[in-house]
Symmetry: C2
Subunit: 369 residues, 2 copies
């Protein structure tokens, strides 16, 4: 997508053809900073500190991390060590494991001298595939939005879509997952308006989704995470769209903390709630998401402190709690499949269930070998 | 309750016997600032800028505002003007109207020279009644907590209670509403632990509830508003307790934005959700809370900016959104009575319904004259 009129992806090779450029998302929305990663360690740091985030982009970045590791040392021990270290950077994103497993399986049988160049090619393929997948998700989501617009329930002039966290183009390589249908709807002239959940504690909605939508010109309002229920209760939401970090085989969706609360509100108000997911976020080995997906717990300081721009234009962090307070910081929750209207994948829309997913991905079905 | 070992109420007369002292809550939790209000205008400013907040305390403060107005001019026009101006300070708190109507009705028939002293006496009575009411709510809530502790479902060592916003002693004259049972349970040796919802946008949980609980020594953890659903889903909550700003005749509860989402999660996980309410917060004229209660919309800057303490100890406000972003700020939502387990009042606990409320307050029943 475009930033100041210039088309960007969220990750690309530098002019030297080996350094990996990213948009450092910890500076957004106040500064647009490009950072050049030159080692696997820098990639691991960028993922764990969330300079890059979003399940699809994490997978793509980790793939380049393997390539950078192979550039330094391509022996089998280095390959295993790189994959192990990168896998530890974020425990939830299933794309991370998917990308690393894919590279490891392909590189291990190769002679070491071929591993580096193949890793770069595979990382590029993972990026291109992600863009293609998100483009398809956008097209299927656009059909859904067009249908809702034609039979609009509430506002005659605008279709209101609520989203949580950032599942936009900077959470992927391009297009985004939950925002892809919104961009396409906006571009085809459907008058969408987006309610942007702030998404505490890291404010990915207030900072990143608002920045993306503003840059692309999509009408939106930022709201606190507490507000969505009220909006849904009063006919101010037509559709909820989110992404997911990990989807279980049974259709349970692990996504940013608070997604479950919004799905409950949508269900209570008989509103459609769809999750947009590239198939690499499906964890086919996870039978029951609510019971089985471990929830990453992050630093309590993300809860007690907020970072932003002062009136003087400096970046500053302020503490909102009393000194010495205790806090807990659960990063994700799992929304039970029963609360979801459907899943939007690159192969179409299906019910959030094992049967639904298998209907689109029969190669992963119980009968598949 | 105590601050640094000294017992306080949240509002009291200064040594001069006419100025009204408050704890300026806009400085909490970082500074404990007492402010002396010397005119009705200062009272109105203190309520509208939320130096004092919480439905019961707003009512008590407004009553002293009338007394201060009568001190300047006690004619009937001044009385009407003072009540009208004070009523406009916050649109949601039904206690505000209740206190002002009560003073106006009592003062109007009096000769002007008696109005000031009677207003001060009535304001003091309103404060004393609030303390008595909250003490009773605390006792009824304590019985409920003791019952849950004896039959504890989850953790054998701790009873986990989730609360939203601040319904503690500084939201009232003393004790608090939702926190009164918690203080009493803690004081009687029941090992309670409180999950404190941050309560964006004004962070009353992170700032005020955490400060109160810390000062009193009640174990607690601050969490983002997004986290409650996950906690309830995983057996980490035994009970939800909140206050209310306005309760409709049918048991629908208007409270801080986000309460509805927590009630949905409690309902989905079969957990008890009780609302603590002094009867002055019941709006007997409001038949249907969800349909009828207007929702106060506040300045969008409360959403886009966060105030707190910098590492250097200065207070600062930081902007978390891109420059020029649009935001909306709905201050309350209405939780339908069907999601509530019960209402804890100064006369006991009842179902959240018209019949439930009338069983405790028959003088307001359909058959009452």
């Amino acid at each position: 997508m475009r930033v100041n009129g210039i088309p960007y992806r969220s990750i690309w090779l530098d002019d030297d053809c080996w350094s990996v450029n990213i948009i450092d998302q910890t500076f957004l929305p106040h500064e647009f900073v490009i950072r050049s990663l030159k080692s696997m360690q820098e990639v691991a740091e960028a993922i764990s500190t969330m300079r890059v985030r979003g399940a699809p982009l994490i997978g793509a970045t980790a793939a380049y991390g393997v390539a950078l590791a192979m550039r330094e040392s391509a022996d089998t021990g280095s390959l295993a060590a790189a994959c192990a270290q990168l896998l530890e950077t974020r425990p939830t994103a299933v794309n991370l494991r998917w990308a690393l497993d894919r590279l490891k399986a392909a590189l291990e049988p190769l002679p070491p001298e071929e591993r580096c160049s193949v890793a770069y090619l595979m990382a590029r393929d993972i990026c291109d595939e992600d863009v293609d997948i998100n483009n398809r998700i956008g097209e299927f989501g656009l059909r859904l939005i067009r249908g809702l617009w034609e039979q609009r329930r509430y506002d005659a002039d605008v279709l209101h879509i609520l989203t949580h966290c950032n599942a936009g183009w900077i959470a992927t390589v391009d297009w985004g997952t939950a925002l892809a249908p919104i961009y396409k709807a906006h571009d085809t002239g459907i008058p969408v308006h987006v309610w942007v959940d702030e998404t505490r504690p890291r404010n990915q909605g207030a900072a990143l989704t608002a920045w993306e939508l503003q840059a692309h010109g999509v009408p939106h309002d930022v709201i606190v995470d507490n507000a969505g229920g009220h909006l849904m209760q009063h006919g101010l939401v037509d559709l909820c769209l989110t992404g997911t970090d990990r989807t279980a085989r049974n259709g349970d969706v692990c996504n940013k903390i608070g997604t479950y609360l919004k799905a409950l509100a949508a269900h209570d108000n008989d509103l459609p709630f769809y999750v947009c997911l590239p198939s690499p976020t499906i964890d086919w080995a996870m039978a029951d998401g609510v019971a089985g997906i471990p929830i990453e717990e992050r630093d309590a300081a993300e809860v007690t402190r907020v970072r932003g721009k002062t009136a003087g234009g400096e970046m500053a962090t302020v503490q909102i709690t009393p000194d010495g307070v205790r806090a807990r910081n659960f990063a994700f929750d799992v929304t039970p499949a029963r609360l979801l209207t459907g899943l939007i994948t690159e192969r179409g829309i299906c019910p959030a269930s094992e049967a639904g997913l298998e209907s689109l991905f029969p190669e992963h079905g119980a009968g598949a070998t």
